[in-house]
């Protein structure tokens, strides 16, 4: 797989938005408590350790109910090809100027053992609030995103159900 030439443009296009700071726990490589110790400054341990969606939401965004906005676009497959690496794309419509930008994006999987899968921090220099990542899902579940502006306004994506199934029998 790695013997393919990789263009820089492709590499940038496929990686995280430049300038975004990712705090990710759901990549399947590291467990949250292993990934970042509590002594790492700014690590939101409480939110990432929460076992229930409502606790994870309260601990991260301070609310359990956020209005859905068409500005927050979440793309995820309807049926996962591999529950161990489900590709999700998040794009938040924002001018990303000094006085109006998306500051933080939170990604939740409702019933994952720890529902807060990842948290991303942006600055106006990020240019756009755009993320592609792969998350681990144990079973059929909802994936949802909450975005927070620099002024503290919260908006959510519509939840997307990703089905994890045994497959087979097609066609």
């Amino acid at each position: 797989m790695m013997n393919k030439p990789i263009a820089r443009r492709q590499f940038l296009g496929a990686s995280l938005a430049t300038g975004a700071v990712a705090t990710a726990a759901g990549l399947g490589l590291l467990k949250p408590q292993m990934a970042f110790a509590d002594n790492v400054a700014g690590w939101p341990a409480k939110a990432f350790d929460a076992k229930l969606l409502k606790d994870a939401m309260s601990d991260s965004i301070g609310k359990t109910d956020v209005p859905v906005s068409s500005k927050v676009k979440l793309t995820a497959p309807t049926i996962a090809e591999n529950g161990g690496a489900v590709p999700v794309t998040i794009e938040v419509d924002s001018p990303m100027t000094a006085d109006d930008y998306i500051a933080t994006v939170y990604l939740f999987v409702d019933h994952n053992p720890t529902p807060l899968a990842s948290q991303f921090t942006f600055t106006p220099a990020s240019g756009q609030a755009y993320i592609q990542q792969r998350i681990k899902m144990a079973k059929t579940d909802n994936v949802r995103v909450v975005a927070k502006t620099n002024k503290g306004v919260l908006m959510a994506s519509a939840p997307r159900e990703v089905k994890v199934t045994i497959g087979g029998c097609g066609g």
Binding site: G13, T75, I79, N82, Q132, I166, G167, G170, G171
Partner: protein
């Protein structure tokens, strides 16, 4: 004599017909003088569509399902209509040839009258005739599942079908079962042998999320730009083994489809946008409601009769063009600058006893089959009853296969996948090795014996059912319900996952959730060791010599299904 262009074309058509139809065929089979394939000239673009031939180079018997239940938004909607419901919907209760083409009614009797359907040499005759009539106005589009389903396609890894496609002059092509030959073989055939464009707007590299194939092709026809966007089967790595295509990701990708449609219209200045789709009928309908700007979706995958009238969602015309070469669909279009001004649609059953073979294609087919002739023709058993597969629940051919698996592997129960391909055998016919391969020719054919608890058996059946009867079409994979051997159950398609199957029994005795059962099966999603299923099935057939299927392991459906128009014979389900 002063002939108008139309008169001239009609004369040509009639002249063509003289040598086109087999002698006396129209009168003897149809009881009419008219040439059913005669189509008057219209418009400036003709699209010919075929799909899901499943590598059947020769004509076969094909029976429409008696059960194809629609749930949720597609309840009692075409194509979820069976038997008389289908005929009534299209208003084609007469003549009997329509009954034969579009329903399961009186299949055995009508089969003897109208003969086998499809065959590449017969399709080639039709295609050549229409190319002669319409000149360079014609595009021929193949909706996929063309490289798999026969012994010779498996043994040549799809190459025999690529040869047939090239000879037929396919312009564009999309894939599903093609991918089960593995990504390297697909790339090899697409890059070095296939003349058609292999299109997919929804196949991306797993590494970089970049398109693996060209998403669309712009054709210039009659001075107009015709965009054809390809849609591969979105759930290939789930419905079929993902290890065959480890570097490629699929999915429906509605947003990307919209982007492609907009790009075709705005940047490529397409006058007409066509999607060549392997989504399946229900997914096509939902996609058409979400994506703006598609003129026509030429659909496949679900092997449905979805003609002779196109189904409309908004301004999008949607068809589905059956399987096994049974139907050739023809759109005659009047394409103006940037818009479709008018259309005429023709849904043409390919009755092989009515159409003369194209000699060139017939020669090709003979050539590719000849090295295997002896093996293909090996007789195994005779059948006393009709053998068919296509149905939501156990078809009779699958019942036989499930019984064979149980016997040969010494198991109390068996599973077989709900594939929608696999042709029929009529009562009295001999089942040959070729026929066995016609039900089993896949690249992951190993038979396995698993020890499952009752809970696991129920889970498997519930998961599969949820992929077929999901009220949201975007969660449907196509295919039919998993086939069962010696498992009895009640079934409610309208329920949610884990609640559809109830009153489950094995060998008539209540199934225990914790007890372990020995279950034979094939077509695993992970690499496994085991004998190929055709070996097990053919050995069993040879030992039986004569077979007949008297009883199918069909579920008892819930009472609400009594009025579901996707069921032709409610009594089969104790309704």
């Amino acid at each position: 004599m002063n002939l108008s262009r139309r008169d001239f074309m009609q004369l040509m058509g009639i002249a063509g017909a003289g040598s086109f139809l087999t002698r006396g065929a129209v009168q003897s089979a149809w009881g009419a003088d008219a040439d059913p394939y005669e189509i008057p000239d219209y418009g400036n673009v003709t699209l010919l569509h075929m799909t899901d031939s499943h590598a059947q180079l020769l004509p076969v018997w094909w029976r429409e399902p008696d059960t194809n239940i629609g749930v949720g938004p597609v309840l009692n909607q075409v194509p979820h209509l069976c038997g008389q419901w289908m005929l009534d919907y299209y208003g084609v209760a007469t003549p009997p040839s329509s009954k034969y083409a579009y329903s399961c009614l009186d299949f055995d009797t009508l089969a003897h009258k109208y003969g086998k359907i499809g065959g590449y040499a017969h399709i080639a005759s039709l295609v050549k005739r229409y190319r002669q009539q319409r000149g360079d106005k014609v595009l021929l589009l193949d909706g996929g599942d063309t490289w798999q389903g026969s012994a010779t396609s498996l043994w040549t890894k799809g190459a025999d079908m690529v040869g047939a496609q090239n000879l037929l002059g396919i312009d564009d092509f999309v894939g599903h079962w093609e991918f089960t030959y593995g990504q390297d073989q697909v790339q090899h055939l697409v890059k070095t042998q296939l003349k058609a464009n292999f299109l997919a707007q929804n196949v991306f590299s797993n590494t970089w999320q970049e398109l693996v194939f060209k998403p669309y092709h712009i054709h210039e026809v009659s001075g107009r730009k015709i965009a054809v966007i390809g849609q591969a089967f979105p759930f290939t790595p789930i419905a079929n083994p993902g290890y065959m295509i480890p570097d490629w990701g699929f999915g429906i990708h509605t947003e990307h489809m919209q982007k492609m449609v907009t790009e075709c219209r705005e940047q490529q200045h397409a006058d007409l946008v066509v999607v060549l789709s392997h989504n399946g009928a229900d997914v096509d309908k939902k996609m058409a409601a979400m994506v703006k700007g598609i003129d026509i979706i030429l659909g496949g995958h679900t092997h449905d009769i979805m003609g002779p009238k196109p189904f409309m969602v908004g301004k999008t015309l949607i068809i589905n063009t059956s399987t096994n070469g049974k139907i050739l669909a023809r759109f005659d279009l009047d394409v103006g600058k940037g818009k479709l001004n008018g259309w005429r649609f023709h849904y043409l059953p390919v009755f092989s006893n009515l159409i003369k073979e194209d000699a060139e294609m017939a020669d090709y087919i003979h050539k590719v089959r000849s090295p295997y002739q002896e093996k293909l023709a090996q007789p195994l058993a005779t059948t006393e009853s009709l053998l068919y597969r296509r149905d939501n629940f156990n078809g009779s051919f699958d019942q036989l296969l499930c019984d064979a698996l149980r016997d040969e592997m010494d198991c109390e129960a068996s599973f077989s996948p709900g594939f929608r391909w696999g042709y029929c055998k009529l009562p009295g016919e001999t089942i040959t090795m070729e026929d066995v391969m016609g039900q089993t020719a896949i690249t992951y054919p190993q038979v396995t014996v698993n020890t499952y608890t009752g809970e696991q058996i129920k889970n498997i059946m519930e998961q599969v059912a949820d992929n077929i009867f999901n009220p949201n079409p975007y969660y449907q994979q196509g295919g039919d319900m998993i086939r069962v051997g010696n498992i009895q159950y009640d079934f409610n398609p309208d329920e949610k996952i884990y609640h559809r199957c109830s009153n489950m029994r094995i060998g008539g005795k209540p199934m225990s959730a914790s007890k372990k059962y020995k279950v034979a099966g094939w077509a695993a999603m992970q690499p496994v060791e085991g004998k190929p299923v055709w070996e097990v099935f053919s050995k069993w057939l040879q030992s039986k010599k004569h077979v007949r299927v008297d009883k199918l392991d069909l579920p008892v459906l819930n009472k609400d299904m009594q009025s579901n128009k996707g069921i032709a014979f409610p009594k089969m389900y104790q309704l």
